[in-house]
Amino acid sequence: MRSYIIRRLIYSVIIAWGILTITFILLRVGPTSPVDRYILNIAARGQDVDSVRQAIEARYGLDKPIIEQYLLYMGNLLQGKWGWSFSASQPVLDLIGSHWIYSFQLILLSTIFAILLGVGLGILSAVKQNTKFDYAASIFSFIGISIPGFWLGLMLILVFAVYLGVFKTYYDTGYPIWSVENLRQLTLPVMALGIGELAGYVRYTRSAMLDNLRKEFVTTARAKGLPERTVIGKHVLRNAVLPLVTIIMFDLGSIVFGGAYLTEIVFGIPGLGQVSFNAIFANDYAVVIAVTLIGTFLVLFINLATDLLYTYLDPRIRYD
């Protein structure tokens, strides 16, 4: 088991290195330079654009050959130096350190919301198969899967903020993270992000439950005279959990720079999505690489955690 984990960790580092290299190349072969953002200011001050550009490039080592820049960047990274953000004028780690919590709270809350409601509805839907409730849940999940999350966000703002005035149209960073006001203003973003996930979970839970409901051990459990509650909760649900965990963990990995990214932009939440979005437009390559790496490590960690979770959930699975 331990050797398996070590192998996986080494493999993860290799993949992360591959992604880092691809991102670095993409950023440095692009036609725009991080210096571009200074050009207008420089020109406005009447200085010679080219000489200032060269000075800035020399200062940040941008004039060196790309291979040398790459080695320099890698060397710094291995020493734990993540670089300097041009656009925010602060170290990359500080920038990320002050923004990650906004993404984290959004993703955490919407995931909890989606799992609780989605799995619950899915179980009910499977137990009441082919009833009106089941059909309603199916239609709801089809709708939820097909609604673009960012548009749902816009519609929620339109109805609840613009017309009904129940919520504000923008995210107010003035409230502390641990406050009721903050929780309240996260209602719409959490719904916008969570409903798509929720709809997926309803579908997967339902089909996983139905698969197991037909199994013989369920008939046996019922024949033994166990109450239906126990049959569903202990015999069917526990066996349906494994495929669900796969889906939920996969979603968790892809949501960070997928749905959450757009939700942050729609609602103006200053999380990592917003940070990386601004960094890309400012060609702030240290930030882009750092954020990409964080996303990558997150996905790799979640993949590993999923595989390890399997062995706990299903003792028949072994990786030796």
Binding site: I19, S146, P148, F150, I157, V162, F257, L262, F277
Partner: protein, 320 residues
């Protein structure tokens, strides 16, 4: 050769047949799923609108500030104008007009014309990009499964890297670097979206590879290319069709999301671009944000319905 079969590729004695009777069987199965027919109907309607619609409406990019923020036919809004001389508000009622049945946006562009132009873009990007992704995925998957060894290893490790990459971040990054144009958007989605297909096709091809008819054709002296193109790929074709259909919604949403955050092709009108305009006029012109989203929603829903129906029709184990 019987009447029920027609030859599609007739090289040297071993043609790939399209079996008419089997096609009829699939069609009969598909027809039983009403929702998938509704989906197909809407897709066909949208395609017709996209192809012929632009002939009947005005130029979607035509700006006319005289008629800006005109509500859809049957709706009316109150517009307050502040008169600087009398310092009084005058409120006028603006009614929707028949010549702009779906209203106009904040630059006076006709919504109907823009939506029609958008349906063209969405379908075009959806079909081209997912076609490209599935083609690449099939090619890589079959190659990997059939050749095995170090080719398989290298291709699958590369797939791992691509799968771990934060997908949307990569899209934003590349589109920003190479400039927003339709060709770039299609290329990027096509070149990054093949990973899931490659894995699925690979696992399918791996199990096919050991089957007797493959061994037989190899024993008869068939070349690798022949086995791959005439035996392996025809046997995964139904899987490919289903995957392509079900991947289109994701592509359409990705394109809309890119345009929404301002990375759409500035020369063309896409639903995402309209949403971008609508986001800023939620309080003055709700329809600009509502209408393209509804189109997006129904398009994605239709592809999901149709894809699900196709999957069940092709799956001999599914009851329809």
């Amino acid at each position: 050769m019987t009447e029920t079969r027609s030859m599609t590729r007739g090289k040297a004695g071993m043609p790939v047949y399209i079996n008419r009777r089997l096609m009829n069987y699939y069609w009969e199965r598909l027809k039983k799923n009403r929702l998938s027919l509704v989906g197909l109907g809407f897709i066909v309607f949208l395609a017709l609108v996209g192809i012929f619609g632009p002939l009947f409406v005005q130029d979607p990019q035509k700006v006319d500030f005289e008629i800006k923020n005109m509500p859809p036919l049957g709706c009316s809004i109150q517009e307050s104008v502040y008169d600087i001389k009398t310092s009084e508000f005058t409120t006028t009622l603006i009614n929707g007009r028949a010549d702009h049945p779906l209203g106009t946006d904040s630059k006076g562009r006709d919504m109907l014309a823009m939506l029609i132009a958008g349906s063209r873009i969405s379908l075009l990007v959806g079909l081209l990009a997912s076609g490209m992704a599935i083609f690449l995925g099939t090619f890589i998957g079959v190659l990997s499964a059939y050749l095995g060894g170090w080719v398989d290893n290298a291709l699958m490790r590369f797939t791992d890297i691509m799968m771990t990459f934060p997908f949307f971040l990569l899209l934003v990054l590349i589109v920003f670097i190479f400039g927003p144009s339709l060709a770039i958007i299609v290329l990027v989605i096509g070149l990054t979206g093949w990973t899931g297909a490659a894995r699925l096709i690979r696992s399918e091809a791996l199990s096919l590879r050991t089957r007797d008819f493959i061994t037989a054709s190899k024993a008869l002296g068939a070349s690798d290319a022949r086995v791959m193109f005439n035996h392996l790929i025809p046997n995964v074709i139904s899987l490919i069709i289903v995957m392509a259909t079900l991947s289109i919604p994701g592509v359409i949403m990705a394109e809309a999301a890119l345009s929404f955050i301002g990375l759409g092709d500035p020369m063309s009108t896409s639903w995402g671009t309209i949403l971008n305009t609508g986001q800023h006029s939620l309080d003055t012109a709700w329809w600009v944000a509502v209408e393209p989203g509804i189109m997006l929603f129904f398009t994605v829903l239709s592809f999901n319905f149709f894809g699900d129906g196709l999957r069940d029709a092709f799956d001999p184990k599914a009851s329809v």
